[in-house]
Symmetry: D2
Subunit: 301 residues, 4 copies
């Protein structure tokens, strides 16, 4: 089917390509000429403005946004509100906060535009392996996009589904990412214990490979971990600095709002914050307190 893709970066470019390879008519737009060139270089069709994008699509239109969550998504939605028409469908495939999504959907609904939120997982591997998609929105709109979801998914009937009304897709993806933080941290801690047990001089890559087959902890993240440990078993040159892109924070906040105890997801996030603070004020204060009451020496900076 015909679809416009807004955002041709790491995620959007690969999704557009997966659709194009399957025979869909994909028109791409990205504000960056470089991203557009990369897309046309792959054989894709690109336009240089939102206006042009909308102009290329037959009514009722289907447009998929794959842009960074936050301000850019907001601005793009505002711009599209006046360009799209009654009965068109706009999909946000990014990681917006579900509350923002609810607000945007309400705005577009006034103009008769369907808003669909698609939580998209799969990372850079999705082009080849397909994407896992949690979709929210009214049934009619989601149904109309079915050929797109069936192509992007690992298989037509697998790895995607309409999970509920608009907002539910991004909500579910947010929790997915919260879980991801917890899983990653569990593996990281375990491998760290193995590494520090110097008596046994374990080969962490070998252990990961053993666990990949038949063990209770086998997973796709473990597959990736095995690959990372193969390339760089002692993690040389990699700073112990772990970024986060927001969904973990939202999951922690949501758990608290819902009165759900989520200690592991919370601690996984907190450890990321900790990783970025190489000059912890609280640890300095603890050292100072110990000195105060026990006369314990503090280590100098």
């Amino acid at each position: 089917m015909d679809i416009g893709i807004i955002g041709l970066g790491r995620m959007g470019g690969n999704m557009a390509e997966r659709l194009r390879r399957a025979g869909h008519h994909v028109v791409g737009f990205d504000p960056s000429p470089k991203a557009r060139e990369a897309w046309t270089g792959r054989g894709g069709e690109a336009v240089a403005s939102l206006d042009a994008l909308i102009g290329q699509l037959p009514s009722p239109r289907a447009v998929w946004m794959m842009v960074p969550a936050g301000e850019i998504t907001g601005k793009t939605v505002t711009a599209l509100k006046s360009l799209l028409g009654r009965g068109d469908v706009l999909v946000d495939g990014g990681n917006a906060h579900y509350k923002d999504t609810l607000q945007r959907a309400a705005e577009l609904q006034e103009a008769g535009i369907h808003y669909v939120d698609c939580g998209t997982s799969g990372g850079v591997w999705g082009l080849v392996e397909g994407y896992s998609m949690m979709v929210g929105g009214d049934e009619e709109a989601v149904e109309r996009l079915r050929p797109i979801f069936e192509t992007l998914a690992p298989a037509p009937d697998k790895g995607w589904g309409r999970v509920g009304e608009v907002g539910s897709g991004h909500f579910t993806k947010m929790v997915h990412n919260g879980i991801e933080y917890g899983l990653m941290q569990a593996y990281a801690e375990g491998f760290s214990v193995l590494r520090h047990k110097q008596d046994f001089d374990l080969d962490l890559h070998q252990v990961a490979e053993i666990w990949r087959e038949g063990s209770v902890v086998r997973s796709w993240l473990l597959d990736l971990t095995a690959d990372a440990l193969k390339k760089n078993p002692s993690m040389d040159g990699i700073a112990p600095y772990v970024a986060d892109s927001g969904e973990g924070r939202w999951t922690v906040a949501e758990a608290i709002d819902l009165n759900v105890a989520a200690p592991v997801i919370s601690l996984a996030l907190i450890e990321r914050l900790r990783s970025r603070d190489t000059d912890s004020f609280s640890d300095k204060l603890l050292a100072a307190m110990r000195n105060q009451f026990g006369g314990h020496a503090v280590k100098s900076e």
Copy 2:
């Protein structure tokens, strides 16, 4: 090859069966007549004593223990010390603490008996899917058992390996289980957040199925979780009571001994302890403190 299996329970019985089906000559022993009958019912060969077991095996003998960690393992090793001879190999496939394993290996070494520790993962699914095995012990002994490991593993060259000297197998399996606790807790928290978001009325089984294909959180544990949610989406009739079989505790203790920060594995264990305490003294005391300083009402039991 010829092998004796001690312990024909849930794990040992299935392992014996997987070996038997592959053509190995397996002699089984279990103190429970019922377990022996189950094994002979499957077509296996059983004996009624350790003596008889050892008598049935050609020298140098290979014996695999699959008995509960702790006292029973200790007693079995003591008994075997006098029954086995120089050059025989005894494998502990259970979940012993690696420090006990080191001690037992030292004892048997005096008698010239090789002790091999095999951390075995795979649970009740291992019969069909194969087991993941982390093996510790001297190279010669492990090599002699190669046909056994190749049969028990998911594939001859996958899912098993000698990770180091004796003790390293159980150590690695212990950490495997610590990771398992963290992974399980991360999923459990995430699904709990989804369930409590009543606005979206999510179908947890559907979400699990979507995540199984293409998502970052796909894993074997998620496959099992999807199955559990399919059978019983609201977990009716299941008490919120989570047992533990020890390896998580040992992992936490080991992490602390090694000065490795393992917050997520630790909290996953602590939540299990918490799940079993339905009359928390600390929570009662907190309620009493709030009443003391703020006049906040306490809830009566």
Copy 3:
């Protein structure tokens, strides 16, 4: 000096009384006739409406709100905006979120009214022992209220101070409460460990009394804990249910916003959430998972 007090409940009534006893002219208002009667019964002067309250105060007026945070504070501020005049000072002594305080201050500033936020600690003991007050607001306004702060504090020059511009008082109080959660949880856990060590059959009240004098953990919270343990050493009749009034949640959220790792304060909050969930879905799911992979029995509800 002359001051109007809005809210004559547990906190406001005691503060009004402490001011009255020190010779200030206090006019009190509470929408509840019962609260007003309690106040007049103590010898206080009460009025039945905000209008009447403002009418009784000389210009420039000083008004102290001690009402529940949230909607009621918002409505009271809105009402006072039209009743108060240029140069008047309105103090919010409650536990408002500092971001709401910033917004309210901005609104009142348009009308020339000074808004002062006072984070107030001390609970039901403040009447006798004095209150600890963290004050935010412009210097002139805070200075004008000095006689009030000096009376409410444990001593004129102790236990209170202007910590910065408006909002900083409530911010500081919020963090105070976050710390409070952590302290309480630490004591509760420790006493729980003592109680569960049945070999030693410790007298928890005695231990608390010993610690009150000379130990590193001595504190006012420990004094209260000792009192609670004296009255009810086994916490009979008290449900293990711990409420929270919001500031702990805000502290956790703020720490995350500021990228500050606050594991202990976060976990202290999470334990409170956990205490209220006697039917934990995540624990049920964990039990179901263990059954899936290991065949471990689940406990029935």
Copy 4:
């Protein structure tokens, strides 16, 4: 009364001095000539060997050990076993693990020597303020030492008590220190949040002083924290490195053994471990995993 003190370091020297000032006849021994000189410099009476110490004391003897927990305590007890006689009392005032204490007490009991364990809190301030002491041992022995405890305590009838049989004193002190970790961490986190809220530019020393009077979080640790913040408000020159002396680890292990959920004490310990790991392998691995699945850049070392 007559008492021998073994160990004239930071703690032992001050305790000996507090006893001497009160008129007790104190004979001190320390293997370090420097420590002995410091003690004689204060006017104390020192001897150069354990033999000499025992020789100076009238029967039945009272001896107080104040030496580092671990090997030194063990060796000292072994040496004293042959020097002391039936009916003598030996007090261990240090931080031994209670399980070691139970074993030592059993050994000495064979020789008719009473063993008393005294968990001692108060740090370097104890000389002036008195010590908090949790005492375990048989009633007769504890009673005989009463004049000593009454002198060392903040007041004769305050801050000390026999909490149970031998071992219970060190057990209680261990938990005291676990609580201490939690309290310290809660304050440290709170002040760190305050410090990072740059909008308000808070004076942390001022805040601590306000809280010291009338607030719910007032405590002796807060008094010390205020002092530390006064001297060095930005903790300049202090490394964010927090040592631990073992009791926190034991408390965490004991809580797990007793199936008591102690998340805050556990996390307080874990943060100390984390503070000492400036090259976290788990954080490096997390960064590598994010790169693997999402193409997120890793920060170079």
